[in-house]
Amino acid sequence: MNIKALPLRHRFWTPNVAVLLFFMASGVVFAYFRFFHGFASVTNLNPAYPFGIWIAFDVACGVALAAGGFTTAAIVEIFGRHKYHALVRPAILTAFIGYFLVGLAVFFDLGKYYNIWHALVYWNGTSVLFEVAWCVMLYLTVLAIENLPNVIEQFRGKVALPGFLSGLNGPTDWLLGKADGFCRRTMAFFVIAGVVLSFGHQSSLGTMMLIAPYKLHELWYTPLSPLLFLTSAVSVGIPMVVFEGTLAAKFFGRKPETELLAGIAKYIPLFLGTYLLLRLGDLAYRGVLATAFDGSLQGNAFLLEFALFAVPYFVLKRRRSRQNPTLLFLCSLSVICAVVLNRFNVFLIGMDMGPEYSYFPSVGEWAITFAFIAFGVLLYKIGVNYLPILEEEH
């Protein structure tokens, strides 16, 4: 337990960063049109499809894929599996970045973005969106607090602000000390709060489209949807940790945490199994399984979604396959794709709002979405480079 997390301090300007910046720059170009010339100048959104990929991917998937944060925190801090301690900081950082980007994406998607604060003031308790908005805001705050110790650890006792700001060194350090004490005393509270808030909005996202019984396909329109969204988010938590851990090891030239990841991966089939059981049980109970095989776009999309969930479940049940890094990575990727496809199905593919319109994301919509992803990767790189997130190799 003497392993310490340290900033990587790698060279920052690598070719990869240039690629990320390129994506972000192209996103900014389209963002200009979106903000100054209206949605029609960029998006393919139309009266029948008021929600596009900015909601389906940037928000619905973004929230689900940030689930690594609360699942790891729960396993390690609440259920006391301290063996996996090294995975918590990167997971919490990624979750923070994820939710930050979700907030940013919402800002892009709101027609009257400058009214975003209205959600704080004008309460409409019957709206599912209201609940989602509140939980996301609160959870983002909790995540910020959970990340605070990393910042404190890095800068406490060595605050050295440049130039004329150096006069503030003392006060800043004092503040960090205070924050440190606050964090130490209250962290348990925030860890649990983070899990509860995640439960709240992960499931509420599943409630959202239930407002449209005549538009959402029956394969996804079920009163169990909140629970399905929650359990699928929990299922994708560890696969995200595996995914990020593997990629980070590759791109930062570190030794892969094979053993640790193989260990924590044993929870994946447990969570996936629960989800699959609920999903199948619900479909059977409502007697809609047959529609999955009617050859329609929705039916096929469902079959693919289900396969992406089910295959990794069977593969990862075997201990041997969990210890194979390639297989583990591929299975994790499959679960991630499954959750992404599921959210797309609920928010886009399964929505039929009328025969006159169809929707496929425009170049501009993709560009902005890719810009968000690139921004997220860049923030992660900055985070691990300058803050003690990843543990020292041993």
Partner: protein
């Protein structure tokens, strides 16, 4: 150790699961809202409509809505050649559509906001920018709206429209002329101009009586059903159709008699009922955390590993 591990996982799964289950499993509609006697509405009689579109013009004038070109010339030639709009839009609050495929009998039907008794749009709106007024109109407040478009998802008739071409867009839809006419004691603009008597303006409760009387007086003309009396919990705008023309064929969905927001609202309600579910989950997780810490403390391995 292995036993306790399993036990904890079970406790955890049970805690989260049961909280969510309690929410999801027995979700049933809360009591639907009842129409109030003073609410205004309209009766659209499709057997009388001659498709002259005078109501569309009156609506455009009343609400100062831009004329729409649906021929694509506006962009290409810089001038507008007009044809009738084909769908509701931010510039078109009401629309006369002709229905009836092939050899079927043709019927003209007006599409517009139904001013629902228990409006899905109002239930969905995150900030409450859409509200049922005392006069029966479902009113939109542009100053409050955040532009999230959830109301568009929620409305079973896909009525609310978004200003896709504006930098600062609002939602637009039929207002039942609430401010411009109703409050001055005048009927809606469309009802006022209809030359065929296809649009009747009045109190919703009166309109139902009128509709019933028309059906009873001419059962060979009318289908014995007042659309909107019950659909989606009732609507302020009611419809009559010809005897052999189903409402579903006229773009008026074959909807249940309960509000579409019933399920979401009851799930919401259960999650937040006195905050019991979140507090329960919180306490259980807190208990597990404390237990684990004490156990490790006693075993002298605080903050460290044990063998699993």
């Amino acid at each position: 150790m292995d036993i306790s591990r399993r036990k904890f996982l079970k406790i955890g799964a049970a805690a989260g699961g049961s909280a969510a289950c309690a929410v999801a499993a027995k979700a049933e509609a809360r009591n639907a809202r009842q129409p109030e006697p003073q609410w205004y509405g309209m009766l659209n009689d499709s057997t009388r409509c001659i498709g002259c579109k005078a109501c569309m013009v009156a609506c455009k004038k009343e609400n100062k809505l831009e004329a729409e070109s649906t021929l694509g010339e506006k962009e290409a030639l810089g001038e507008q050649l007009y044809d009738a709009p084909r769908a509701l839009s931010e510039h078109t609050y009401t629309l006369i559509k002709m229905h009836g495929e092939g050899e079927q009998e043709k019927t003209f039907v007006k599409a517009q906001c139904m001013h629902c008794v228990d409006p899905a749009c109002a239930s969905a709106c995150i900030v409450g920018a859409l509200k049922k007024e005392d006069n029966g109109a479902v009113k939109y407040d542009a100053g409050m709206c955040m532009g999230c478009r959830y109301c568009m998802v929620a409305c079973p008739y896909s009525v609310p429209q978004f200003e896709w071409h504006r930098a600062i867009p609002s939602i637009r839809k039929c207002t039942l002329c609430s401010e411009t006419r109703l409050e001055k004691g005048k009927p809606t603009a469309c009802a006022g101009v209809c030359p065929a008597g296809a649009i009747t303006f009045g109190r919703r409760s009166e309109l139902i009586k009128i509709a019933r009387a028309r059906i009873d007086a001419a059962p060979e003309i009318y289908l014995d059903h007042i659309y909107g009396e019950q659909e989606v919990g009732g609507t302020g705008v009611l419809y009559l159709t010809k005897k052999y023309v189903a409402f579903a064929g006229l773009g008026l969905g074959d909807f249940d008699y309960k509000p579409v927001s019933g399920l979401t609202e009851s799930i919401q309600h259960r999650i937040f009922q006195y905050f019991i579910p979140p507090i329960a989950v919180y306490s259980i997780l807190g208990g597990i955390m404390a237990y684990n810490q004490r156990r490790k403390h006693n075993a002298g391995i605080e903050g460290g590993d044990d063998e699993y």
